[in-house]
């Protein structure tokens, strides 16, 4: 590297696509210009279980401008299973499932015609309510993505019996919907045996491979383009049913077809976080040292496809205790298929575990930060592996100092300000460090600038900017001399933007390609694949850690909870871009506040539908819900991660936040809320 070049990593650069986003130039999936596109509109089932008996499109087809109606009766046969086997069978497995689609010259005609498709059903009694004593409860083979379903070490009962203090409580979280601002959308262009999709996806490479498989196409003949994606939070990690329908529509009509899922349809079609019922048992000695930890989880999946959220997995590494057990059980219901939502597993799991730890601190009379420090393990408690770095305690102590924890009186319900009760709470946060094989290309252009290509996705994470910084430092040039192109499956294949593994995975490949170019013999282009080195990496326990501190005010008359102050402290290795990192961490915590206080997808227990299926009924946090909120980080130099030294930061912000809020509400009111969200009604009910 040139001695003159100032390192770009660690500097708060503006997003490289910032101007494009602030001027409206950035094109999202539905916006790619086309000549005479057609529009698709979906028809959803109005029953939760049964079979389509008859489907009458005669009125729909009479609407001027309608080109086609596709259903299980006339759709091409697909090589797909589960949710992607769309329009393949008359079977209806949940309310809102796609039963048909209409294609028309205009959006208005398509939408009107979709409403005119008449479907007759042979309806069966649906089974939609999750219970921990449901007769269909079963043990999945693995939990997402490939974790052991159950683990056990030592003798749990003996550990609990020997404990001086025991917490045994059930925590519940409702269904949550990702609700990225950009509704899922696909434009399908089918021409000359080649398919081009403009798609809102977190992974162009895998989306292309998946769609190619569904339609039996050569993967080389499927291109997925997604330069800008309006958020995803997991829900755009895999192609959804509508993308398959868009392709069917394009193949059927020979037109480029634009199909956007409506906000209402997203509640059935684009994934959500399963509701959970979690029993946590903790047993501790008189000094608060854990003797036993158990975390038993019940959650739902659909009857179409299994999704088993790994909710208790986090409990396997979080705290030391000789006697341990985690289990996951699922109930297949007539509900939409749950899926990834920001920190699947860790997010709901840590609400339960970190609430229980707070309960234990009350039971033991030990400060919750001190209690966590006493139980901080030397090595990963279940597999004995070394932590590549574990700075949870430093996050807790740094946060305590910054937040002003030292003067805190632990007694609950003692701080009153008029009609408000005030309190503070803390919770720990963690997220695993993953890294996946990736390819990348680096090229020296004739004008001396550099081009880096990788089929990564920037869903708002700042990936384009972070990779620009990483490439610039490796090449020893200013970031302005590097252009990073991503969001196109025609570029070197890259893993999905998920598991907080984007920067680590794509960055490793970018560093490798740029190093080759820098150190080579004048080659102008280098292409790399990181599979070998990633598969050969040492088996360590790699995790980011953090702590959230929250102050709440609870209105005793209305039950309203206000959050005047939130502070997150994180240990996540090298922070590539402090500006975008802070935004992402605060964004995660903001979503965590929504989870704690506002968000809940309410099931219609009779008809099996989510009742509040729009943004008037499903409340995302907005401006007025926030006050002071900040994220900081501790120095962490971890050489065992990747060439950048970074840990993922996309998900850890949400993990722990809801528990910190619930713990603060306990401190304010003396009432322990074990079910989310903590609504005014819940506060008043006590």
């Amino acid at each position: 590297m040139s001695v003159l070049a100032e390192r770009a990593v660690g500097r708060p650069l503006d997003r490289v696509e910032g101007e494009a986003k602030a001027t409206g130039e950035a094109l999202y999936a539905f916006e790619h210009p086309l000549d005479r596109p057609a529009y698709g509109a979906l028809v959803q089932s109005t029953i939760a279980s049964g079979e389509i008996r008859a489907l009458d499109a005669s009125d729909a087809l009479r609407v001027q401008g309608v080109l086609a109606m596709v259903s299980h009766g006339n759709a091409p046969r697909l090589q797909a299973e589960g949710e992607l086997a769309v329009l393949q069978s008359p079977r209806v497995c949940y309310r809102g499932q796609i039963v048909a689609a209409v294609v028309a010259d205009t959006l208005e005609a398509a939408r009107e015609a979709a409403q005119l498709v008449r479907v007759e059903y042979a309806e069966e009694s649906p089974d939609v309510v999750l219970r921990d004593d449901h007769p269909k409860l079963y043990r999945p083979e693995k939990v997402n993505p490939a974790f052991e379903t159950d683990t056990a070490q030592g003798d749990l009962d003996a550990g609990l019996s020997a404990a001086e203090h025991v917490v045994d409580a059930v925590y519940e979280t409702p269904a949550f919907h990702n609700n990225a601002m950009e509704p899922h959308a696909t434009i399908a262009v089918w021409a000359d045996g080649r398919l081009t999709l403009y798609d809102s996806t977190q992974g162009a490479s895998s989306a292309g491979r998946t769609i190619a498989g569904v339609f039996g196409l050569d993967p080389e003949h499927v291109r997925v383009v997604s330069p800008h994606v309006g958020g995803g939070f997991g829900s755009k990690g895999t192609p959804r049913q509508h993308a398959v329908v868009a392709v069917i529509a394009a193949m059927t009509t020979g037109r480029a077809v634009k199909l956007a899922v409506t906000r209402q349809q997203m509640f059935a079609l684009t994934g959500y976080r399963t509701p959970t019922i979690q029993r946590v048992r903790l047993g501790a000695d008189g000094d608060g040292r854990l003797l036993a930890i158990a975390h038993d989880v019940v959650e739902q999946t659909s009857t179409v496809q299994e999704f088993a959220e790994q909710t208790a997995v986090v409990t396997r590494m979080m705290y030391a205790a000789p006697n341990r057990r985690t289990t996951h059980r699922l109930v297949p219901l007539n509900v939409p298929t749950p899926s990834w939502m920001r920190a699947p597993g860790e997010c709901p799991g840590m609400f339960a575990l970190e609430s229980a730890i707070d309960e234990l601190s009350v039971a033991c009379g030990i400060d919750p930060i001190e209690l966590r420090a006493r139980n901080d393990p030397e090595v990963d408690p279940e597999n004995g592996r070394r932590f590549s770095s574990r700075n949870l305690v430093e996050c807790l102590r740094t946060g305590a100092e910054r937040f002003g924890w030292a003067d805190r009186d632990p007694a609950p319900a003692t701080r009153r300000d008029g009609r408000w009760l005030c309190g503070t709470g803390v919770a720990a946060s963690t997220y695993p460090v993953y890294r996946r094989p990736c390819r990348a290309l680096a090229r020296r252009e004739a004008d001396g600038s550099y081009l880096v290509r990788v089929a990564a996705a920037d869903i708002g994470t700042g990936a384009r900017t972070a990779l620009t910084q990483i490439a610039a430092d490796t090449l020893g040039v200013p970031p302005g001399d590097v252009r990073v192109e991503l969001g196109d499956s025609a570029f070197p294949a890259a893993p999905v933007a998920g598991g907080s593994a984007g920067t680590a995975s794509w960055g490793t490949a970018v560093v490798k390609a740029c190093r080759l170019l820098r150190d080579g013999d004048g080659e102008t282009e280098e292409s790399v694949d990181t599979r070998a080195e990633i598969e050969a990496a040492e088996q360590l326990s790699r995790h980011a850690f953090g702590a959230q501190f929250v102050e709440v005010r609870v209105d005793l008359e209305t039950g309203e909870i206000r959050v005047p102050r939130v502070l997150g402290v994180f240990a996540a290795g090298t922070i590539v871009n402090p500006k975008t990192a802070r935004s992402q961490l605060i964004g995660g915590m903001t979503m965590g506040l929504g989870m704690a206080l506002l968000e809940e997808s309410i099931l219609d227990r009779r008809f099996g539908d989510y009742l509040n299926r729009d943004l008037a009924g499903y409340h995302l946090p907005t401006y007025a819900d926030l006050d002071e909120i900040d994220a900081i980080w501790v120095e962490e130099d971890d050489p065992d991660l990747n060439p950048i030294g970074s840990k993922g930061i996309g998900e850890i912000g949400i993990v722990g936040t809801a528990a910190a809020v619930a713990n603060a509400v306990y401190h304010a009111t003396g009432r322990r809320h074990r079910r989310l969200p903590i609504t005014p009604a819940a506060v008043l009910a006590g």
């Binding site: 503006d14 997003r15 696509e17 910032g18 101007e19 494009a20 986003k21 602030a22 001027t23 409206g24 130039e25 094109l27 999202y28 916006e31 005669s58 009125d59 009479r62 609407v63 001027q64 401008g65 205009t106 959006l107 208005e108 005119l116 609700n179 990225a180 601002m181 950009e182 509704p183 800008h228 994606v229 309006g230 958020g231 939070f233 409506t262 906000r263 869903i459 708002g460 994470t461 700042g462 975008t580 935004s583 992402q584 605060i586 964004g587 995660g588 915590m589 903001t590 979503m591 729009d614 943004l615 008037a616 995302l620 946090p621 907005t622 401006y623 007025a624 926030l626 909120i629 900040d630």
Partner: protein, 172 residues
């Protein structure tokens, strides 16, 4: 059975968008948002919910902020529309656009055009002295006023912590 003559009702429409006159024939069912996005190639205004619940489609209609998804195009004959594409002047970004970039007031960027147009409309409302639910003693720019007046513009990435200072800084 339905009447087979169920053809779209078409109307002539003339309006100005970002200073450019447009005269066209539109289906009366077309929303102002879809007119912009699907007929005028102005995809800056975003469709987040199509029900006036998220604010991503916010544009300025005759100087006032409005959800373009709730406006029927044909109801705005002769209107002056400004979208995010019309905020920069002579290649110079609007101060609010610059503040959004510098303070990182967005992540995915999908709500951004609506946030920008809404903030500009909101600042005009404040300037005109319109009170809000939190106004006690004259409408003045403050974080509290911004939080109250901008709450119709959702941001799932959670950029509010940067949006408030961006609007505050460029509005004062």
């Amino acid at each position: 059975m339905r009447d087979e003559s169920q053809a779209p009702v078409l109307r002539e429409l003339a309006l100005r968008v970002n200073g450019v006159e447009h005269a066209l024939t539109v289906d009366t069912r077309v929303s102002l948002l879809d007119l912009l996005r699907e007929h005028l190639d102005l995809t800056g205004a975003k469709k987040g919910c199509d029900h006036g619940q998220c604010g991503a489609c916010t544009v300025l209609i005759d100087g006032r902020r409005a959800n373009a998804c709730l406006a029927l195009a044909v109801a705005h004959y002769g209107a002056e529309i400004v979208t995010v594409e019309g905020l920069a002047e002579n290649g110079e970004l609007h101060p609010l656009q610059r503040a959004f970039i510098e303070l990182d007031a967005f992540q995915c960027g999908y709500c951004t055009p609506g946030q920008l147009c809404s903030a500009i409309g909101m600042l005009r409302e404040l300037e005109a002295g319109h009170p809000s639910a939190v106004t006690t003693d004259g409408a003045r720019l403050s974080p509290q006023e911004i939080r109250e007046r901008m709450s119709g513009n959702l941001c799932r990435c959670g950029a509010y912590a940067n949006l408030v200072p961006a609007i505050l800084g460029s509005g004062s």
